[in-house]
Amino acid sequence: MSRKTKVLLSKLGLDVHNRGIITVAKGLSNAGMEVVYIGNALPPEIISSAIQEGVDVVGVSSLGGAHITLGIPLIEEAKNKRVYDTITFLMGGVFPPQDALRLKAVGFDEVFTPGTKIEDIVSFIHTRSTD
């Protein structure tokens, strides 16, 4: 791949906690990716920004409990706008392990729970981009 992997990162909904997502933004940027961080946004805005920016990856963060209630609409919106198959969808934040499984069943390509290392996110993205 000659061009950089492009990633859109966002806080899901009104969640106030952005320490994690900023750390990931910096980590991915340090790993040579192009990162666009749009702050707090709802699914329609996240997908339209992803399309506008032409990203390879969308990563969203939720510590406020809305990972399922907003995660499902996010995947649905991606499918409606026909970008689900061309973008890798990642979710991170604070939620129980059983919800992590549910999120993958819903359509997230990978879910990163507390204790995740940045390098794991980076290598996951790299394996996806060589598929």
């Binding site: 909904g13 009104l14 409990g65 809305a66």
Partner: protein, 586 residues
Amino acid sequence: MKEQMKTTKEILHEKLSERKTTPLYSPEALESIRQTVNQWMNSTVREKDRKNWLKTPHTVLRSDIPREMLYTPLANAGLDYQADLGHSGQEPFTRGIHANMYRGREFTMRQLTGFGSPEDTNRRMKFMVDHGATGLNILFDLPTIQMYDSDDPMSAGQVGMSGVCVDSVEDMDLLFKDLPLDEVSVSIVTHYPSNTAILFPMFLVLAEERGIPWDRLRGSVQNDVTLEELIRSGAEYTPPHDCFRIQCDNIQFIRENIPQWNFITLNGYNLREFGTSGVTEMAVAVANGIETLEEMVRRGYDVDAIADRLAFFWSPASDFFEEVSRLRAVRRLWFKIMKYRFNATNPRSMWMRCHVQTSGVSLVQQEPLNNIIRSAYHALSAVFGGAQSLHVDSYDEAYSVPTEEAALLSLRTQQIIQRETGITDVVDPLGGSFYVEALTNEIEKRILDEVDEIEREGGYVAAIESGKLHKKIATYFFNQQREIEEGKIKIVACNIYNSDTEPPPINVFQYPEGVEERQKAKLARLRLKRDSERVNSALKGLKEACKKRKNILPYSIDCARARCTEGELFKVFKEAYGLWEPPTLW
């Protein structure tokens, strides 16, 4: 802050450096110890330890304060008992704000509650009180915190999650059903000056409608510019100068009308969780406190009329002795600031009263029951440090809102400390420890140095606007992540002693069903039945007050009476004040 004005550090140095001291240790004793220490270092202490004499604990939310292997009187050679420690309840209050501390008044067990609809949270509050909680502490959901109505598109999928939804006075009424507002002390966690100005009036109107005079109400609000402008991620921000003015306006109104209410809880906790050391946490809160008091004095208040209702909110984390020492350090520092910088005369003005919440970021998802032990140590350090009120985070912190059983365990953690350990029978039990006193001194010095830095850069609000503090925080939390990933900061079962087997699963909180739908329906009914002329007139009055930069609380109270909803008031703020683009974090 004008450049020609002296900084707090300069003022304190001027006033205190000429004091006569009465050293506790005699020169002969110190000299003798110096000699034996030298002998000991060369004969008993191993070379490896001599070479690594200073060691900095690598903990989550660490500071960079090195520790000696052994502390002796030499670490605090100039200790003057009366001037540096004093007795409890006596200047400089290092040992505690009251003479009898927990013998006279036990620390309040004030666990946070908040999820689902007001009725759900009301039930959990009663459960906690039934099991021995001595204070109420209410956390709102993200839409409510960020000032959107439950039926606003911004709130979709988030109503009643990680906090309770409140849109109007009617919700406040349900939240406090069967709870006597004039008998119980309530911490209403309105984090921001802006949402304090919207939500607290709803509480006041509720009291009014229940026939409870405002002078019978006891409790606190957060009302802190730090939370609104420095440490949260949000879609829309009020400009910092308006936010700070509203913070002070809230203080002014509450001071004049609700005499027993604590009108600001300086942060503290959320800042540190976001990413700062325990030293920076305190420096920021102190700088905010100083700037706030200066503003109130500028408005014509005697400092003694304000300072006694000002409180602090700290985050005890894992470096045990640092946590104990820093509570003592900031208590002594705040006294010095109140007495020597602000010339307060009432002892109550000089007390650093605080609530603490044990650190959430220090708890992990792996082997969650280990978090019970972590939180217990955090809580213990706060009790040794002399905190007035505690919330202990629950073991399922990295999963969701606490289950009933996890919340109960947090309460039991406090009760066991209070009733079973004997610790609370003695005031400041660690006072006099060579280590604790040395660390208290070092931390006090560092806090003041960082306050000085903030003041030299133009003051606290200026530091927020410039982005300097945002950068400092981001640097800190990047380093924390790196240190954890590199294993420099060790976390049991996370990056050390990792287990191959999964522990038994814990119960995880399940949000009640249908909260959002019910809340939306409630709002629809409210909008139909209320007097829309009265609503419009109240909002209009608020808008004019905002535009004129007046104290908006009386107008907000009027809006609450008219059954305006929170989002309607925030809309007025946005139109009147405009929006601020905060500095980026990377």
